[in-house]
């Protein structure tokens, strides 16, 4: 199984956290890098989009979002019944796992490009589209029958939230300017992408390590869920992609998207909209387990799966 070197930076960060190093990635560097990554991913997607008729995307997009919306709806009863989580906790965790992780997606894309495996450029559009429905569903699950669902606030939180704004903004700029127009910006947004992703992952490693304590409170069920859920969602993603006729790379990426758990947009939105939910549970699981799992084990597995399914479905 080929190994993507950026993951080593993540592991170094985890190690630094575990040995209680004084290494601290300044919060501002974290924010700056995440602005860069979101913009760059958006721009890249926009350039790809400019190469093809948008109308053709509508059908697959509907399917991808529709199937994706099943994920929180499936996760919720499992968490509530089997895991005995409170309604708000179950809803919040379901929202995290229903939504997507931009960085997991980026590592997946890096993994594929390392293998020189092509994928559909418009996967970024799915990244954007998959980010928020699960958040809405999570809030609705938490507040059902309580009246104060406050979906409006969440909608604003998500749509005016920086991750959607930068991704969609990047998409639009890339689409308007096209590959030719963006060329003078390539040296920053494309050439630096992988190196800066590595530094970002170093920081994510530190953050993930600081979440390991939360896991003790989480209990064995949630630990299991944090591994089983991405495997289930990844399989669903690979199947969906095969049915839609995506390339092997595209299928691996859709599997990665489904399997990934949000730790930027979802925590922020849930903290505001479902305050009763304990963030230690959802963030601990998503960041402490699922994120590392996807990086190290998940992505290669989804790629392997995508290859097995090629031509089968």
């Amino acid at each position: 199984m080929p190994f993507e070197p950026v993951i080593l930076f993540f592991l170094l960060g985890v190690l630094a956290g575990v040995v209680r190093s004084d290494l601290k990635i300044p919060a501002v560097l974290y924010e700056s890098l995440s602005i860069f990554l979101l913009l760059a991913i958006g721009l890249k997607g926009g350039v790809e989009l400019a190469r093809q008729p948008l109308a053709e995307l509508a059908g697959p997009a509907l399917v991808v979002v529709g199937v994706g919306a099943l994920l929180p709806l499936i996760a919720f009863p499992v968490l509530q019944r089997l895991g005995r989580l409170s309604r708000s906790d179950a809803a919040s965790v379901a929202a995290h796992y229903g939504s997507v992780s931009v960085v997991t997606f980026a590592v997946g894309a890096a993994y594929l490009s390392n293998l020189r495996q092509a994928y559909e450029g418009y996967m970024v559009v799915f990244l954007v589209l998959l980010e928020f429905p699960a958040l809405m569903i999570g809030v609705w699950l938490a507040k059902r029958g309580q009246g104060d669902a406050n979906l409006g606030k969440v909608l604003h939180e998500v749509f005016a939230g920086k991750s959607i704004l930068l991704l969609v903004g990047g998409l639009l700029i890339g689409w308007l300017a096209g590959a030719e127009g963006l060329k003078p910006l390539d040296k920053v947004f494309f050439d630096l992408f992988k190196g800066l992703l590595a530094i970002f992952l170093l920081e994510m490693g530190l953050v993930a390590a600081s979440r390991f304590d939360d896991l003790k409170r989480a209990g064995a069920f949630l630990l299991g869920f944090a591994i089983a859920m991405p495997l289930f969602a990844g399989t669903l993603g690979a199947l969906t992609a095969s049915v839609l006729g995506f390339s092997v790379g595209g299928a691996a990426l859709l599997a990665t998207l489904y399997a990934s758990a949000s730790y930027i947009a979802a925590p922020a939105a849930m903290r505001i909209a479902v305050p009763e939910a304990n963030p230690a549970l959802s963030i601990g699981a998503a960041l402490g387990i699922t994120f590392p799992f996807n990086l190290v084990v998940g992505i290669p597995t989804y790629f392997w799966l995508a290859r097995q399914l090629e031509g089968v479905v």
Binding site: I25, E203, S210, A268, R271, P279
Partner: protein, 102 residues
């Protein structure tokens, strides 16, 4: 203190940064004429919040106002946020110049 000072109440709120916007909006609605915010990190009942990651940052919000307004804000915060959020509040008596401002 030889200036024409006036006694006002200083309410200091330390809470997770995810609710900064909500808290200052509440303070304005309840009659505060100003506030000051700085970033902080800390430790308390909700564990360590080291500020290395957006979700783990704290803010320190100071609101100078008449005692009644400070009381109203503190009561509201206690009712609204104490159960679910990392938050600490304290009040103290200070002397202000420009008392018309608060």
């Amino acid at each position: 203190m030889s200036l024409t000072h006036t006694r006002r109440t200083l309410l200091c709120v330390i809470c997770e940064s995810s609710i900064e916007a909500a808290v200052v909006a509440d303070a304005r609605r309840l009659g505060a004429h100003g506030y000051t915010v700085s970033d902080a990190r800390g430790w308390g009942n909700h564990g360590e919040r080291d500020g290395g990651w957006p979700m783990s940052g704290n803010v320190r919000i100071e609101i100078l106002s008449e005692a009644s307004v400070a009381d109203a804000i503190a009561t509201h915060l206690q009712k609204t946020y104490f159960a679910a959020y990392a938050m600490v509040c304290y009040l103290s008596e200070v002397s202000v110049l420009r008392s018309d401002k608060f």
